[in-house]
């Protein structure tokens, strides 16, 4: 199959925004999106009339039909490019890809991408559980009482069995991620964490405990994509898309081709090839971390360490800010925020902020090139992107 057409240096992200994060009971999910969008627009130095396209994902708490159109209506936009996309947690990266494709093809010039939900306060616990339950196959998985943590737990268990990965190594990932969140002024979690706390947390689905699992937050995130030509005329520092690739292998865990090898290797290969770069060129990475095992598997899939070596790689501290390959510098979904598709979107927001610089103690020194990975389902749908502070 021939390689996808290059999107290298065709577009730039010129504005990013986060809503208030945590428990925000005075705001709706749409309101959180609007707040993030307004902040992203201000950050870009653009006006509402500059936006001619909108992409959004999905909402469990406010499950509107035609969410993209609903979002446009709420924001008062009349765009000529609009869709809501559902590839689970991979949606934000895939939306960036679609935005880049549309802009490169001249179908739109400036696209707002936003996502988020009021998952912490906008639904009852029972409603939240029922919605998440729907991720299991309705006929061949749900009758067995599976859960999302339970499916990821099977992946963690298999990794431990095949490679000798330990719960302590996964706990260290969670602790490091929390350390990063403490450097972020808007992170949901604001208190430090120890390995002992992670190991003794309430068990959810062995081997995963509560602190191996992502947060449930109220949060919205947004970014604005425009053509590289238009970006050059703006006051805000543009961050250029160098490479992007997606790959989809299954949806339900029972149909996963493997429990140790997933589609991130292929999505990463496409992105690296498009950028003309490799794992060694990345100054940091924002990886999807719905559960502690997930970024570890992604480190392997994306070539940052050998297959099965992510346990020691993380435990040795290589993924901390200041070390070889900082990951999830904002605190990830484990400690910064997780609210539907906004979880992965914040990885893109953080990569842009790091590449622009000036983040104080959180800043990755000399950050020029970054990788972001989003995944959806049960490591089912993957999208990898590479961003850079200049055209390279």
């Amino acid at each position: 199959m021939k390689s996808p057409a290059s999107l290298k240096n065709k577009v730039a992200i010129v504005g990013v925004g986060e809503s208030d994060i945590g428990r925000v009971p005075n705001m709706t999910g749409l309101g959180l999106n609007a707040q993030a969008a307004k902040r992203a627009l201000d950050n870009a130095g653009l006006k509402v009339c500059d936006i001619d396209g909108l992409l959004t994902a999905y909402s469990f708490t406010e499950p509107y039909f035609m969410l993209g159109s609903v979002m446009c209506e709420y924001l008062g936009l009349k765009p000529r490019y609009n869709a809501s996309m559902v590839v689970g947690g991979a949606s934000p990266a895939v939306m960036l890809k679609h935005a880049a494709e549309a802009i490169a093809a001249g179908q739109a010039e400036t696209i707002l991408v936003c996502a988020g939900e009021n998952r912490a306060t906008g639904q009852t616990r029972d409603a939240a559980m029922a919605a998440l339950l729907a991720v299991g196959h309705p006929y061949f998985e749900q009758p067995y009482g599976g859960s999302i943590p339970g499916y990821y737990a099977m992946i963690a268990r298999r990794h431990m069995h095949v490679y000798g990965t330990t719960r302590e190594q996964m706990a260290k990932l969670a602790v490091q991620t929390r350390e990063h969140a403490l450097l972020h002024p808007n992170a949901h979690m604001k208190t430090p964490l120890t390995v002992e706390q992670v190991l003794s947390a309430k068990p959810i689905a062995d081997p995963l405990g509560m602190l191996d699992c992502c947060l449930i937050s109220d949060a919205g995130g947004a970014f604005i994509v425009t053509s590289a030509e238009r970006a050059a005329d703006l006051k805000a520092k543009p961050i250029y898309l160098q490479g992007i690739g997606e790959y989809h292998t299954h949806e339900h865990l029972m149909c996963a081709p493997s429990l140790t090898e997933f589609g991130a290797t292929e999505s990463g290969r496409i992105a690296y090839e498009m950028a003309g770069l490799g794992p060694k060129d990345m100054d940091f990475a924002e990886l999807y971390d719905c559960f502690s095992i997930v970024p570890m598997i992604e480190l392997e899939e994306l070539g940052f360490c050998g297959r099965g070596e992510s346990g020691p790689f993380v435990a040795e501290g290589n993924t901390r800010i200041g070390a070889r390959l900082p990951i999830n510098t904002h605190g990830g979904m484990l400690s910064h925020a997780h609210a539907g598709a906004a979880g992965g979107l914040f990885g893109i927001v953080e990569a842009v902020r790091q590449l622009r610089g000036g983040l104080g103690a959180r800043q990755v020194e000399g950050a020029e090139v970054a990788l972001v990975h989003n995944e959806g389902g049960i490591l089912s749908s993957h999208c990898t992107l590479i961003l850079a502070s200049d055209k390279g």
Binding site: Y139, P143, G145, G150, M154, R157, R158, H161, A205, M254
Partner: protein
């Protein structure tokens, strides 16, 4: 209390599967064209797109590919059951399927354990394929 656990739902793709389960048989789809067996019945073979498929009976033996002990159930119907084991079973015929490991010794299950088929009554004659340690 087993009555309140979800009953299997048959649709046009899966009715023969659930009908066979009612007769305590586990059947899987086999492609007449390429010979591939697959779990989760479909209209066509996911390997070669042939629509010439047949049902074959599994011998009901397999190994535990991975598992989790669920300590907190998402589905309210399963709250009374915790802790319980969900597992991916690799059938000797090849395909993998989701199931629970039932039996007194279920919680001490390990990856690569041999398991054999059993059936759990979910009410009104509906039987759900399940596994116990062999």
């Amino acid at each position: 209390m087993t009555q309140s656990l979800p009953r299997p739902i048959a649709n046009a793709d899966s009715k023969p599967y659930w009908d066979a389960a009612r007769e305590r048989r586990l059947v899987i789809r086999k492609c007449k064209s390429c010979g591939t067996l697959h779990f989760m019945p479909r209209y066509l073979c996911p390997g070669c797109w042939s629509d010439q498929l047949e049902w074959v009976e599994s011998k009901g033996n397999g190994t535990v590919h991975s598992f989790s002990i669920i300590r907190r159930a998402s589905d309210p119907a399963f709250v009374q059951k915790v802790p319980y084991v969900t597992a991916l079973i690799e059938l000797d015929e090849g395909p993998r399927m989701m199931a629970n490991i039932l039996g007194e010794d279920a919680l001490s299950v390990r990856i690569d354990d041999r398991v054999k088929l059993t059936f759990e009554n979910r009410g009104d004659g509906a039987l759900l394929p399940q596994f116990v340690r062999a």
